[in-house]
């Protein structure tokens, strides 16, 4: 859990979408991380093999054992695949709903703040507070006050993933070049025109970067909500709690890896969407 909180704190600076450099071959892009993966797997097998030899295999099962125990269990036990898929579906749904709401609220909030200095001064502190409050501490409270429903899970997602949308959008709206603003001013362009034809398009790269960060956070939100609620519709977090309490390590690893993959996939998808939307004109210096 501590890693989740850490990434929520460190990844919220206005970031930018980096385009792939031209001339990168497939090998130079995917080669190095693949080498690292091989090293990690080798280390995993090494450690797991050692643990097996001292009869503590439950701490870290061998990778292929995780797969066989979870999906192709011996002696008549059930595969966890149906449970895992159902939970994955639910958590994905919660995360995407929460993200969508964060995107809408975050953009609107930032646009409102960009319109006047005093509005920004009045509202931005609350965005910061939202970011500073340990959301995890609020989760049990949410459970008690509004229940353990789908909506409560979405609320956790929104609370966790909102800030990057607000701060990135605001940064993008405000980072319009001074002389470009004057160009519009010289034609007596209205506030609305400046917003729609200058500020908003200018903010798009930052908005997409924020979306990518928020997407990762909302997956965290979905799983955190589950683990704390421990009831309602079982998402990936519930599954993780259940396997942990029964010390079913292989199944636990399978569920953890599945949630990690969900986070990575959502992150990549939003990165791709951003690249498709603004990659044509946007180059980070």
């Amino acid at each position: 859990m501590s890693t989740a909180v850490k990434s929520a704190v460190t990844s919220t600076q206005p970031a930018t979408v980096k385009p792939t450099r031209k001339g990168d071959s497939l090998l130079s892009r995917f080669g190095p991380p693949l080498v690292v993966l091989v090293i990690i797997m080798a280390a995993w097998y090494g450690i797991a093999g050692y643990l097996l030899s001292i009869d503590k295999a439950f701490l870290l099962p061998l990778p292929h054992v995780i797969i066989s125990d979870s999906f192709f269990p011996a002696n008549g036990a059930k595969s966890i695949a149906p449970d895992l898929l159902r939970s994955l579906g639910l958590s994905t749904q919660v995360a995407l709903f929460g993200l969508a709401i964060s995107i809408v609220i975050g953009i609107v909030w930032a646009i409102v703040m960009s319109q006047a200095r005093w509005v920004e001064r009045s509202l931005f502190p609350y965005a910061v507070i939202l970011q500073c409050v340990p959301i995890l501490a609020l989760v049990p409270l949410i459970g008690i006050t509004i229940g353990y429903s789908f909506e409560a899970r979405i609320l956790v997602c929104v609370l966790i993933s909102l800030f990057p949308m607000v701060s990135n959008t605001l940064f993008g709206l405000q980072s319009v070049d001074h002389s470009q603003r004057e160009l519009f001013q010289l034609q007596s362009a209205s506030r609305w025109t400046v917003l729609t034809k200058l500020q908003f398009p200018n903010a798009l790269p930052a908005i997409f970067a924020g979306m990518r960060i928020s997407a990762g956070l909302s997956v965290i939100g979905a799983i955190v909500g589950d683990t704390f609620f421990r009831r309602g519709q079982p998402g990936l977090g519930n599954l993780i709690s259940v396997y942990a309490s029964r010390v079913q390590t292989a199944e636990l690893y399978a569920a953890v890896i599945t949630s990690a993959l969900l986070g990575v996939v959502i992150f990549l998808v939003f990165g791709l969407i951003g690249k498709l939307a603004v990659g044509r004109w946007y180059t980070s210096a």
Binding site: L183, F184, N202, L204, T283
Partner: protein, 257 residues
């Protein structure tokens, strides 16, 4: 130095398009950028202002365009069609050349067909035909500045304000764009007010060179440029050109001291 009747350029027959009388500018923080500036620009004139950096040359343009209001003196403008070319091209990176050039007409709510045709014409005029669909990032610095120029041309400006537009370009591009600008000037017959810190550029382009002192900016001297248009690029290497450039440089140095 104020404008005396003897230095009025002979070509001017119409009313002045831009008239500064005793203009001063003091910013809120107390900095005095301009003091006692008298300046007239008429149709058919291409007036260049040279001065050390920070002397308020740009402030002069900003007042003329309405981006700033002078704290003293009167400013009269006889036209609303004002083109303003910024120091950098200020293109919108998400718009193609065509869409960038259409921008000002679009902001002025001109119908799509009119502004599209106008933009095409301006793009041809600055020699960028064929690049309509390119994005700014795909263009060189000189081509971006041409796009910026085309964008202002769509306003059919009667008064054209240039704020060191070629300052960031290399010398060859700069000279070529200067020649293009003069060609367009002769075709369109606007009044130009051009800010630069290059003496050679000032003398080559303009009908009149105005020298400003360091802060607070005052007009310290003024020179008529006797060369006829169209100007041969090689006049830069004539003794007359060198002599005039020398005089401007001297005035600049004295004003700065």
């Amino acid at each position: 130095m104020t404008i005396s009747p003897t230095v009025e350029p002979p070509v001017v027959t119409t009313e002045p398009l831009l008239d500064f009388r005793n203009v001063a500018m003091q910013f809120a923080n107390g900095t005095i950028a301009l003091s006692g500036v008298d300046l007239t620009v008429s149709r058919g004139e291409f007036v260049t202002v040279v001065g050390p950096s920070g002397c308020g040359k740009s402030t002069l343009l900003r007042i003329a365009s309405g981006l700033e209001t002078a704290s003293e003196g009167t400013v009269e403008l006889a036209t609303k069609r004002i083109g303003y070319v910024f120091q950098d091209a200020t293109l919108l990176p998400w718009r193609t050349v065509q869409a960038n050039v259409e921008l000002l007409a679009e902001l002025n709510k001109q119908p799509k067909r009119v502004r599209s045709a106008k933009a095409k014409e301006a793009i041809e005029l600055v020699g960028l035909g064929g690049f309509e669909k390119n994005l700014p990032r795909e263009l060189s610095g000189g081509m971006r500045m041409r796009t910026s120029l085309a964008r202002s041309l769509t306003l059919d400006p009667e008064l054209f304000l240039f704020d060191e537009p070629f300052g960031a370009l290399d010398e060859i591009t700069r000279e070529r764009l200067g020649d293009e600008l003069l060609r367009i000037f002769m075709e369109q017959q606007f009044a130009g007010l051009f800010i630069t810190h290059s003496v050679a550029e000032a003398v080559y382009l303009s009908t009149r060179v105005i020298v400003m002192s360091g802060r607070p900016g005052r007009i310290v001297d003024e020179f008529e440029v006797p060369f006829d248009y169209p100007r041969d690029p090689d006049i830069r290497f004539t003794p007359e050109f060198a002599a005039l450039s020398g005089k401007v440089s001297h005035a600049l140095r004295e004003g700065h001291a």
